[in-house]
């Protein structure tokens, strides 16, 4: 099967040609399979946002290529434009991109740019609004009258409405309260089950990534430091800490228990999972 997004030897420099030239991403090779959820984690300045801006051709690589659904997106203008619709990129704090008079019109901005028929646009807007949790009565309001969390949802719906094959979300939960965070992560999970689309989430919150991602890609200093299932990656606690990242607190406790010889699982990322794991342990777990 052709991968959803494939990146080959991707290098992008900032301040190119000056003495301050630095590689924001350096020789990255990454293959995102169709239907998977990939988490990209990295410290601030590790190149996460630069990397994803290549997926729909907003940035042009200095070296290497980006292949979306089997097509090199920089082949010509057509392929570049198509990549914008195939890969839906939702930036950090997307609520600052809202501009239309009504939420409905704003969500319809993407599909209208795709020159779709009216009925199709309407269908997409309503589906996306529902999926992103935008209340029906808010659709006719001005986006500037919504609360922060509602704006965020409306903006994400504006990307979902293009029905991209790959949805890329940069720090979707940044600045939300814990409840808002949880809702948003659940929303992403539901979106994925409902559409079967590929989802790429960029974050520095290990908790958020752990609960949704099939695979985790850790970026450090413009390069891929680790790539694997959350279990594989999070078991390398020490290395992650050296990169300025942290495994979830609850995972740390379980790693510690494991090291002390208790027969507990290592892939515990949330408190709910921890409770279940402890129950299991109490039932049958024996001290080694």
């Amino acid at each position: 099967m052709t991968p959803a997004v494939e990146v080959k030897n991707l290098t992008h420099y900032y301040l190119k040609g000056t003495e301050n030239q630095v590689a924001a991403v350096n020789n990255i090779n990454l293959c995102v399979e169709k239907g998977e959820t990939l988490g990209i984690i990295g410290h601030t300045g590790s190149g996460k946002s630069t990397l994803i801006a290549h997926f729909n051709g907003l940035l042009k690589p200095d070296k290497g290529e980006v292949i979306v659904d089997g097509v090199n997106i920089f082949e010509n203008k057509q392929t570049l434009r198509q990549s914008r619709f195939k890969v839906g990129l939702c930036f950090q704090y997307p609520e600052y991109q809202l501009f239309e008079e009504t939420v409905y019109k704003d969500i319809a901005f993407g599909p209208s740019n795709m020159k779709l028929p009216r009925e199709e646009i309407e269908r997409r807007v309503l589906t996306a609004a529902e999926m992103a949790g935008v209340k029906k009565e808010n659709l006719e309001k001005s986006p500037f009258d919504l609360s922060g969390g509602e704006k965020r949802r409306a903006a994400i719906a504006g990307v979902m409405s293009m029905e991209p094959q790959v949805l890329v979300l940069d720090e979707p939960a940044a600045g939300l309260d814990p409840a808002g965070r949880r809702d948003l992560i659940n929303m992403i999970k539901n979106y994925r089950t409902a559409t079967g689309c590929t989802v790429i989430i960029v974050s520095h919150s290990m908790e958020d990534i752990a609960s949704v991602a099939d695979r985790v890609c850790v970026l450090n200093k413009a390069e891929i430091a680790m790539l694997g299932t959350p279990k594989e990656v999070y078991s390398r606690d020490e290395e992650l800490r050296a990169m300025g990242l942290n495994v979830p607190e609850i995972t740390k406790i379980f790693l510690m228990l494991k090291n002390r010889g208790f027969n507990v699982p290592e892939d515990v990322f949330t408190v709910d999972e921890a409770v279940a794991a402890f129950r299991e342990f109490a039932k049958g777990g024996v001290k080694k």
């Binding site: 801006a53 914008r84 619709f85 930036f91 991109q97 809202l98 901005f109 993407g110 795709m114 293009m162």
Partner: protein, 271 residues
């Protein structure tokens, strides 16, 4: 590209010019520009040009930077030179063809004008190369402070200028971010005719306006929280004080003026 716009071209340094009091520098550079216009003969202009070269040397600004500030004006300089060559007539005629006439006076005026513009540009660019925008607005505030007699709030104006300068890079960054976000939703910002393009800017300008107002309110809150009440009774951390070097510079400028006037008097005027 949008990120190439550079406002305030301060070049970090520690030269005599950098260390001069911004007010004195502002006044003297303005005076020098006037002196350039006072020059009437080649000799007085040559004195000003020599002084400009001297000032560039002591400012230790690389020649590359100076050339960069001249570059956008090359066309204007050439254009004025061409106009002067053919429209000013007098003196010996070098060349004549139909109505086109190349005369001694024409050539002289053309050269004189070109050098004059060059000197003007380089001198004024020295001000912005050696003074940070904040220092510059501070200087303007102090120089305009007599206007407060007419109930003009000079401090407020200067603060507005400082803030505007401070937020230019921020807004450029923000514009870039919003443009990317809308491009990601398929907005075509770089193609189409004039109407299509200006229409395409709506999705960029509306969010930019909204966020500018948000930033302005936030900043106003933050300033109020730190008890900012405007200019009255406000003191400065860095007091501006005229030092011996500033007086030296002023004396130098006065000598220059004398030189220009003397040379004007003894040599033939070009214009």
């Amino acid at each position: 590209m949008i990120s190439d716009i550079s406002i305030g071209q301060y070049y970090t340094g520690n030269s005599f010019l950098h260390k001069m009091d911004a007010r004195m520098k502002f006044v003297l550079i303005f005076a020098l520009l006037v002196f350039v216009f006072l020059c009437k003969s080649f000799f007085s202009l040559a004195l000003m040009a020599a002084f400009t070269v001297f000032a560039v040397l002591i400012s230790r600004i690389p020649l590359k930077m100076i050339l960069k500030s001249i570059k956008p004006l090359v066309i204007i300089i050439l254009f004025t030179a061409l106009l002067n060559i053919f429209y000013t007539t007098g003196g010996r005629t070098y060349f004549e063809w139909h109505s086109i006439k190349l005369t001694e006076k024409g050539v002289n005026t053309a050269i004189f004008m070109a050098v004059r513009i060059l000197v003007l540009v380089v001198i004024s660019s020295l001000l912005t190369y050696t003074t940070t925008p904040t220092m510059l607005t501070d200087a303007i505030e102090r120089l305009l402070s007599p206007l407060s007699v007419f109930h003009i709030k000079v401090h407020t104006l200067a603060m507005m200028m400082t803030l505007a300068l401070r937020f230019i890079p921020t807004l450029i960054e923000e514009t870039q971010r919003i443009m990317n976000a809308q491009k990601a939703r398929g907005a075509e910002l770089e193609t189409g005719g004039l109407i299509a393009r200006s229409k395409a800017l709506v999705p960029v300008f509306v969010p930019l306006m909204v966020s500018s107002f948000r930033r302005a309110y936030e900043l106003a809150f933050a300033m109020t929280c730190r008890c900012y009440t405007g200019g009255e009774g406000r003191t400065r951390m860095k007091q501006m004080k005229l030092k011996p070097r500033d007086y030296t510079a002023a004396a130098f400028a006065a000598a220059l003026l004398a030189g220009v006037l003397v040379l004007n008097h003894f040599f033939k005027a070009v214009i």
